[in-house]
């Protein structure tokens, strides 16, 4: 493995100030794949903050990327509010059943107590441990599943999307309730000293229209981010799938960084909103990171960097979404090493050189 010259915190601090760094920041978005680093099964993470922290810290130490994210799946908050989640032996959890079957039951829903409900306390414990172990050298963040997506887990995606058209007030009520849940969860995360990252996959234009995004997702994300900002922290906002028609709205939420899916064109994003907001993305987590070769990873990273490195507000190399669990370590190393070889400042010459030469000696 090639060695970095700076710690991640040194790098991010310098990069934010526009000063010289050793390489572009790079975040391969390792999720449950961290279990593979310590030889654990994913089901062992359940309610086990110490193990989640150990896995994420060891994964960071192995690959040396630029954030430690305490994350297993998107359902942690919805579960703490009554949604039923299935935990397979060694695969990522999935939603079995929303918290309520019908909007008439909405009165049953309460924002969770982050110190008591579901797995939330275990996640807070994991954040404390990770901060303690590596917080001096790398940022540690907790993950918040945004109001619209959380609402979809509380009542089911089909029901929520139909409510938007048939009973918009009810849909707003669910989003409002989810925002309240998000706010107490974000507060608890921020109180540990961690930062926050936001995901709103169901608000994607692959599912709902830009107009629906502006009505049912945007105002709630904006209020969430304004709270995070009031605590002195910035937020990255990730939305999967198509987003090109809502980029400006995403900027207007107050997010400091937009994390974009591999289906979108980073050059177009840079052109449209790169002067207002930092961008991160968007190597294909499945076709390239999971199924591709080391060389495919290298080409894809060079391609992303070529399109985005000169974005005025900066660029962080990353995968277009969380990595699938079984992404080969070699491909994660290849992503990091490509970024190391490209170095800083990024030049056309350097990109051409990295493109031509194999990634050997890494």
């Amino acid at each position: 493995m090639l060695l970095d010259q700076m710690t991640s915190l040194e790098r991010m601090t310098a990069y934010n100030k526009g000063e010289k760094v050793d390489r572009l920041p790079c975040i391969p978005s390792v999720g449950n794949g961290a279990a593979r680093v310590i030889g654990a099964k994913i089901s062992q993470f359940r309610n086990n903050g110490a193990l989640i922290a150990q896995a994420q810290v060891e994964s960071y130490k192995l690959f040396r990327y630029d954030v430690v994210r305490i994350f297993t799946d998107l359902y942690v908050q919805a579960e703490a509010m009554g949604a039923k989640v299935v935990y397979p032996d060694d695969e990522t959890a999935h939603l079995a059943c929303p918290a309520i079957g019908d909007i008439s039951e909405v009165g049953r829903l309460q924002p969770p107590n982050p110190y008591k409900d579901g797995q939330l306390p275990a996640f807070l414990q994991a954040m404390h441990i990770a901060l303690d172990k590596v917080g001096k050298e790398v940022g540690v963040i907790g993950s918040v599943t945004c109001p619209f997506t959380t609402a979809s887990f509380l009542i089911g995606t089909e029901q929520l999307t139909k409510l938007m058209l048939r009973n918009p007030q009810a849909a707003h009520k669910l989003c409002e309730l989810s925002l309240e849940a998000n706010l107490v969860w974000a507060e608890a995360i921020l109180d540990t000293g961690c930062g926050v990252t936001l995901s709103d996959p169901v608000a994607s234009s692959t599912i709902i229209s830009p107009r629906q995004f502006r009505e049912f997702a945007f105002p709630y994300i904006k209020r969430l981010i304004s709270y995070i900002n009031s605590r002195g922290k910035s937020a990255t906002l990730h939305i999967c799938g198509k987003t090109h028609k809502i980029w400006q709205n995403m900027v207007d939420t107050g997010a400091a960084c937009l994390s974009l899916d591999n289906v979108i064109d980073m050059a177009a994003a840079k052109e449209q909103v790169g002067a207002q907001v930092r961008l991160t993305g968007n190597v294909d987590p499945s076709a390239i990171m999971l199924q591709g070769s080391v060389d495919d990873v290298k080409s894809a990273v060079v391609d992303c960097v070529e399109k985005t490195y000169d974005a005025p507000k900066g660029y962080i190399v990353s995968s277009g979404c969380s990595l699938p669990t079984e992404v080969p370590f070699a491909n994660i190393h290849a992503m990091m090493n490509t970024v190391r070889k490209i170095g800083f400042p990024v030049t056309k010459g350097k990109l051409a050189e990295v493109k031509q030469n194999p990634l050997n000696g890494c």
Binding site: T157, M164, S205, G241
Partner: protein, 214 residues
């Protein structure tokens, strides 16, 4: 004159579906049955036609998933009214077994593909979500289906798709059963790699692919 009247009803039915209007779809359907208009034609030229238009609006990004779901609700409401009056069943264009592979419980995409294929004239056997590979194969065999359509949103479950194909081959059924796959993490390249017959990018694409293969 009768032809004209019939066409007006079909147009109204189609419009009611596109406009997501369940009540109107039901009332137009009931009215045309009363007039003695053929229920099968009404399904084909009214309801299916409406869903095809909704599908086009979806492709053009005028409609999104929420609108498609409500068009489908209207379409199924109309179908409930018309079905008891079907004199002759139209010939099904083919039988397709559909499901979300084991380990994944996202089924909104699958439901839309199912509904679009149904309205395009195929007979669908829906296995639901979290379906083990063997079950796709067993049902395809017992139902003599011409195609399996497998979906996933989770990369963790992609191997289940490859398993469907190897199980089909082991059972000696591969030649008679086409396999199409779709969903977020899969791609045309992945379809090729596991030996699937095709990849479908969305519900409309699935109809195109089904027409080609069956």
């Amino acid at each position: 004159m009768v032809v004209l009247e019939k066409d007006t009803y079909f147009q109204q039915l189609s419009d009611a579906v596109v406009e997501m209007d369940e009540e109107r779809t039901a009332s137009v359907a009931a009215e045309l049955v009363e007039k003695g208009i053929d229920a099968f034609e009404a399904i084909e030229q009214g309801l299916s036609q409406g869903m095809a238009r909704a599908g086009k609006l979806y492709e053009d990004e005028e409609y999104f998933i929420p609108e498609l779901l409500l068009c489908a609700d209207a379409m199924y409401t109309g179908l409930d009214v018309l079905k008891p009056h079907l004199k002759s069943r139209g010939k099904s264009k083919g039988k397709i077994v559909i499901g979300v592979v084991e380990g994944d419980t996202h089924d909104i995409g699958k439901n839309i593909v199912k509904m679009m294929l149904e309205t395009a004239g195929y007979q669908l056997i829906d296995l639901g979500r979290d379906v083990p590979p063997q079950r796709f194969v067993t049902v395809a065999q017992t139902e003599k289906a011409q195609m399996i359509a497998a979906a996933t949103l989770m990369s963790t479950t992609m191997n289940g798709m490859a398993r469907i194909i190897s199980l089909l081959t082991e059972a000696g059924l591969r030649d008679g059963v086409k396999v199409i796959i779709g969903g977020g993490p899969v791609s045309p390249a992945f379809a090729k790699k596991i030996g699937a017959d095709a990849y479908a990018a969305n519900a409309i694409d699935a109809i195109r692919v089904a027409k080609e293969l069956i």
